[in-house]
Symmetry: C2
Subunit: 148 residues, 2 copies
């Protein structure tokens, strides 16, 4: 599976989340060319403020691999991670971070606190933003427009 396909898999998780009434953000984690975790936002379903797609996927991958260090793993997420999720990406030692839409309001990678550029961040993945941005962004816009 080529790289864009992994973002497609993340977008699929975002669509599933939207159908369940969740903010449409999806994530997959890949190791050795295989998806080891996939998740959408679950904050409403789980009554869990920490259940962002990235956090759920990181926990899933760590369980699957039996390790709190996800070295050699790449994370694909449809929206720029927030500070909570960026922190989790660093603790998990994710190798590469691919994200879709930029998030000027709540993002913490290219926006906000730019966590990975802070001296208090102890692991910085390779970062690629704007991958699949158009569709990720359209999903979010459609979701919030429908809620007004």
């Amino acid at each position: 599976m080529a790289m864009p396909s992994f973002m497609d898999a993340a977008l699929e998780q975002a669509r599933t989340a939207a159908a369940a009434g969740e903010v449409p953000v999806g994530c997959v984690i890949v190791r050795d060319g295989k998806v080891v975790a996939r998740a959408g936002n679950r904050t409403v379903r789980d009554s869990d403020p920490t259940a962002h797609a990235e956090l759920v996927a990181i926990r899933q991958a760590a369980t699957a691999l039996g390790s709190e260090r996800l070295t050699e793993c790449d994370l694909y997420v449809t929206l720029e991670p927030c500070a909570m999720c960026a922190g989790a990406v660093a603790f998990a030692r994710i190798r590469r971070l691919y994200f879709g839409a930029y998030d000027p309001k709540g993002g913490a990678v290219e926006n906000g606190v730019r966590f990975f550029s802070s001296p208090s961040c102890h692991h910085r993945p390779e970062i690629y933003g704007g991958i699949g941005e158009r569709e990720a962004s359209a999903l979010l816009k459609h979701f919030f427009a429908a809620r007004r």
Copy 2:
């Protein structure tokens, strides 16, 4: 139970974590004068990089209260929260944050990215640092000294 006693309960969780080989940080969440969640770090035991004391306690409290919003809840933690945990505190709408030791290396409240002062932070609790600092700090120092 008076306020310092809640930090004592958090310190107790930190000691239990240390005994299990975890970095000694503990947390309790209080609502209406009652502890609704208590946890220590569990990253090693759970093979979960997100299992910091605060995150575990927030998830526990959200489950107990059946809501992703922990309004009216106060969080006591023995160490200054990192970016991941500070983000979770904001999403959970914690009312007051009391923390023990300051963490110049990994903290994100008074150190590092100072998350709650960022425009991308959408909820800022009342913050009280240095509560029970001496004991919280001694626990951490002793733990890391014993590991060398």
